[in-house]
């Protein structure tokens, strides 16, 4: 089962939920838990899981490189590039790699076959283990504008593993669970992260900001047709509007977590909350069971 944890609003507790769900589920021998950190701009899950990184890979995207022996400055490449990543002057071709989306139009249409595509690093992939949790995360390089290509790469890698393992796991009666920590917002990095999930947990808080961003996140999931439910974090701090909204729209509230200074302090130190108190662990196991039930109905 692929479960993503998203929220729209930042700082509502996505990483806390994803990490603790992973730790609660891995306690059961039947579960094979994988963790994927798709917040490649500001990855945080590793601070709580402390994975031992066994493999680092450079993530590259193809960008055009001009072969000046062949180029005749005809300008076709600049004409077909909708991202304005190439400009051609009388005797020079200027490439702006940060604007390039790697669509390949310039290479394909160059009449002189003067363009080769070279890999340009935009980030790294990290793979490792935290106890028996398998961990994959990505990290966008500083100054790079585009996160989706990294998310695509790390997702492809873990989903391939997932598909390969799924059948094996069924044979040995193990349940494969892939948990995805999603970045905040509602635009391309979020879509790329939640796409293909069996279920999405939306973490919200009972404030006007929480509600506003939850409504947007629900729209995203409806568009992608992903079943979803809400965890109301810091459920005792604000008003009832998020609860009312969920009721009106038949969105299940999977778990209520009160504001607890003990949790906030543990979080500040990078300590998972399932280690604080047995009841939290039980809550997360129950949460997963509720999701499985709901998912099977859908």
């Amino acid at each position: 089962m692929i479960i993503s944890v998203a929220s729209g609003k930042g700082g509502s507790g996505k990483t806390t939920i994803a990490v603790n769900l992973a730790l609660a589920l891995v306690g059961d021998q039947k579960n094979n838990v994988h963790f994927l950190d798709c917040d490649v701009e500001e990855p945080n899950a590793h601070l709580f899981l402390n994975p031992l990184i066994k493999k680092r890979e450079s993530i590259k995207i193809p960008v055009p490189e001009i072969d000046y022996q062949k180029c005749n400055y005809c300008g076709k490449c600049a004409q077909v590039c909708v991202y304005n990543a190439i400009a051609v002057t009388k005797d020079k071709v200027l490439v702006f790699p940060e604007l390039c989306h790697s669509c390949g139009a310039c290479t394909l249409f160059c009449p002189q076959k003067a363009i080769n595509e070279e890999g340009r690093e935009i980030g790294i992939l990290e793979e490792g283990k935290s106890g028996s949790i398998s961990f994959i995360g990505g990290r966008l390089n500083i100054g790079e504008p585009m996160a989706p290509p990294i998310i695509k790469k790390i997702k492809k890698k873990s989903i391939e593993k997932y598909r390969n393992r799924e059948n094996e796991d069924i044979k040995v009666k193990k349940q494969y669970i892939l948990l995805i920590d999603v970045p905040p917002g509602t635009s391309c990095p979020v879509i790329e992260s939640v796409k293909g999930s069996d279920y999405t947990i939306l973490v919200s808080e009972p404030t006007p900001f929480g509600l506003h961003d939850l409504v947007l996140a629900v729209e995203v999931l409806q568009k992608l047709q992903i079943p979803h439910g809400v965890i109301l974090n810091k459920c005792d701090i604000g008003n009832h509007e998020v609860e009312d909204y969920c009721k009106e729209n038949d969105i299940p509230i999977l778990l209520f977590l009160p504001l607890d200074k003990e949790i906030a302090i543990a979080y500040s130190k990078g300590m998972p909350i399932v280690n604080l108190n047995r009841s939290y662990k039980q809550n997360f196991i129950q949460l997963f069971q509720n999701i499985s039930k709901q998912y099977k109905i859908v």
Binding site: E42, P184, T186, V220, I237, G238, S268, G270
Partner: protein, 285 residues
């Protein structure tokens, strides 16, 4: 004219809460909300929209099925896996499509046309604290960086027209295109962080981005008393990187209470938090 942008790296550290309070404290200014994915500032400033504009960016393919013979060339060459030929019909996955237009150029039947993509709206508005420009990016749309640039450009125009000396921008979380579009060329970035391991980690990354683009930064530690040890780590980090700490705000529920009432916290109560924010504004400005 001075442009100040409030950012954080990590989401939920209190950018918008601080931006709304600064909006209430500062004089002769215009506000812009550049968190176009999930703009929240208007929830505290209660604007009256004076102009609404559509935002078009990028292109989206439309297939003329009467011309398409399902040859499959577009599907084969599309690097975004955005075209699928199924049950003898060619279908575009608009969520995966990046609008490069390669399919339209290669189609032997000329069955694909690229159209302008409506991907959001932006608003000119008035609030009791002054003009506010904000935007809403369509669900699952791209081009957030362009919309951010549009919000900033309009904020600058309003400032010029109304002779306002200050632009206050509420920025997006993260470090990629919308963040880069929000800070490049700004006079000052106020970076709001919190004394958690995540807060520190994300602060270090976003500070590197401000340095990369040559934008001066000042750091605010929100909820500093949650973990005093981490707060001193942040101060030490700032010292080592020649960044000044503009102030600290303690952990107080009054911030949430003000939020639920839909008010900037400095307008809601005369608590210690209000004093801390006033001091920050005096020090930074």
């Amino acid at each position: 004219m001075k442009e100040i942008v409030i950012i954080s790296g990590k989401g939920g550290t209190g950018k918008t809460v601080l931006a709304a309070s600064i909006a209430a404290l500062a004089k002769n200014k215009v506000m812009g909300d550049c968190d176009v994915d999930a703009s929240n500032l208007y929830l505290l400033l209660h604007p009256e929209v004076t102009e609404k504009h559509d935002f078009y960016a990028g292109l989206i393919p439309a297939i003329d099925l009467s011309k398409c013979n399902q040859c499959g060339l577009c599907q084969e060459l599309c690097r975004f896996e955005a075209i699928k030929i199924s049950q003898e019909q060619t279908v575009i996955d608009s969520v995966s499509c990046e609008g490069c237009g390669l399919c339209a150029l290669v189609c032997p039947q000329q069955a694909i046309q690229m159209n302008e993509n409506h991907c959001g709206e932006w608003y000119l508005s008035e609030t009791k604290y002054g003009p506010l420009i904000y935007a809403r990016l369509g669900i699952a749309e791209e081009n957030s960086g362009k919309l951010v640039a549009l919000v900033r450009q309009n904020a600058q125009e309003v400032a010029k027209k109304k002779n306002l000396e200050l632009i206050i921008i509420d920025g997006p979380p993260g470090i990629s295109c919308p963040l880069i579009a929000s800070i490049s060329g700004a006079n000052l970035a106020i970076v709001v962080t919190e004394p958690t391991l995540s807060g520190i980690h994300d602060l270090e990354r976003v500070i590197k981005v401000t340095q990369h683009f040559g934008v001066k930064a000042v750091v605010i530690i929100n909820k500093y008393d949650l973990n005093l040890e981490n707060s001193s780590r942040i101060e030490k980090f700032c010292g080592q990187n020649c960044i000044s700490v503009g102030g600290k705000i303690h952990f107080d529920n009054v911030i949430t209470e003000a939020l639920v009432k839909g008010l900037p916290v400095v307008e809601y109560s005369d608590s210690k938090v209000t004093k801390e924010i006033r001091d920050i504004w005096q020090k930074v400005f």
